[in-house]
């Protein structure tokens, strides 16, 4: 059984077997990230492949200060952000206030219930969110980035990040509640 260190050393030398071993060891975990950030399996597969190509290209810069999984996660998240930034245009972030906040207060209990649902349902609810909300919910609520970091990464203000998160949460809860009703 190869250790992470052996695999990393092999990857640094460009050994295809080591690269495949790294993919097999962490591919599923990374694919989970890709699904969360992409919203659909096709884009997630693209992100997964691009991400691993980048991992193999830049693994020489991995110093071993942190776990390889953390390093790869960061790389995949950065790649997802960079894809979003390429696709998005400035005005998208100005539209925050146009999202209705109405029914949020009435559904607290229902939401608590719905979040106990399966990963698949939450994933499909995330996928149904507009990309910018999905991105901020993933970054903040799941991957524990601060609003400051998110603001820097996305080129928006901290306030903008908070607004996106707040509206995104409301939309996510609504989506989950609707699924539950059905």
């Amino acid at each position: 059984m190869l250790t992470d260190e052996d695999i990393i050393q092999g990857c640094k030398k460009g050994d295809r077997r080591a690269q495949e071993a790294l993919f097999l060891r962490y591919g599923k975990k990374m694919y989970g990230y890709c699904l969360r950030y992409s919203g659909n399996p096709t884009d997630a597969n693209d992100l997964l492949q691009d991400g691993f190509v980048k991992v193999f290209e830049f693994i020489g810069t991995f110093k071993g200060d942190s776990a390889i999984e953390a390093w790869m996660t960061r790389l995949f998240i950065n790649l997802a952000i960079s894809r979003f930034r390429k696709r998005s245009t400035g005005p998208q972030f100005v539209e925050v206030d146009s999202i209705p906040l109405a029914e949020q207060a009435d559904e607290k209990e229902e939401v608590k219930e719905t979040l106990r649902e399966s990963v698949d349902e939450v994933l499909s609810a995330l996928a149904a969110l507009p990309e910018k909300y999905r991105l901020v919910i993933n970054l903040y609520a799941i991957d524990k980035m601060s609003h400051r970091e998110i603001a820097e990464q996305l080129g928006i203000s901290e306030g903008g990040s908070k607004s996106l998160l707040s509206r995104g949460r409301v939309m996510l809860k609504e989506l989950l509640a609707n699924k539950k009703k059905r």
């Binding site: 030398k13 077997r17 993919f23 691993f52 939401v111 939450v122």
Partner: protein, 430 residues
Amino acid sequence: MKNEDIHTDQQLQGLFQSFEPPLPKGAWEGIEDTMNRKRRRRIAFWWIAAAAVLVGCISGLWFDLSDTQNTHKSVKKQETTVNTPADSPIKPSENAETIITSESHSKKDIQTGGVTVNQIQNEPISNNPAIPENYEPNQVGLEPVLESKPGQVVLPHPFGLRLTPQQWPAVNEVRAVKIAIKEQQKVADSLKANMGKWTLSAAVHQMQTGSGYAVNPEYSRYVHKNYLSRMKEGELNMGGTGFAIHLGYRMNQKYAVTLGAQFRQLNIRQQFNFTDEVPVTLMPGNTPDEFGNYPIIGYFGNAGSVTYSGFQRNTIVEIPLGMNADFRITSKWSVKPAISVNTGFVGGINGFTLDYQQLQITAQRSEWFRKVQMSGSLSMGAFRQISRKMQWGATLGGTRMLTPAYIPNASVRPRNHSLGIGTQLIWRID
């Protein structure tokens, strides 16, 4: 942040903490394809860049050569015809036709202002409206009178012509060309004079290693019958980068001896995917080869499939001792052939290879290699003088192993030659 939000976030985190969906089909193949494509593109880019540099150097050399030849032709004609008054006495026997046929100055040049040669000789200065009344020929450094007549200024001229000041620009232009050529000659002379005894050079080269193994005839029974064909199928591409520094000592104007240090890599990409027969070896009464294998007496059945894709890298540090020559083609360009014998010390041995008897993938081991290896290199370079002390050039060369890479009595002998291109910068250090 509300407690409810914190709770929601925690639930989401918990939900996805161990979320590992099954991998999509064909994901790894897609990654492999992308990497192979990128690699091919990268290799193509470097080869194109190297070829462009080489073509640039060769065309630069060609243009430089043709320019120089034209200039030399021109100089030759001018030198027989143009003598400035300050430099030498006039030769009345030479005539105007000589300069008219010169490449840099046509008859039209001489006829500046629409005045013919005959008119120039006979026209009195007083009739020429272009000449100011207070004009003094001495102001431009020319002696004004040789065969003066009243009212006419006759300038000393190498062709026996008598030019009025209107024709001086043409004469001065010729002088300027001559001075420029003299300057150029001076630069070339000074370059030669300044060529010092000691030089230091730095080089980078990209080598392409020849593929193929050879079986040691004495040990042919130790090698699987399909080994060579498997290696041929499996080895895809070979290349390696090298860096070198040399200290050179010029023995005379042309030849120099050099001693240096060189770092060289052999990179080998291998992809094996096959099923083959299992060899049967016979131990009693036989001696093993250097790798501990016994001779094969037959084959039976099929072994499991061998699948491998990997990268092999061997690093060699060498001390090249050699000679080079400097054949100066023009004042700026020279051609340098070089030859050297290299004493190499095997450094890093990394990656996997195919076991020549069992046809299984095995890690390369440094014990297989000779610790000291000898090789010979031959190269040819086109170099340009880029400053008084520096030359830069592109080289094309090859290296061949003079001793086998593997230890003596090994059953196989790995590749033994490589070809490559490089670039080199030479400093004169004394």
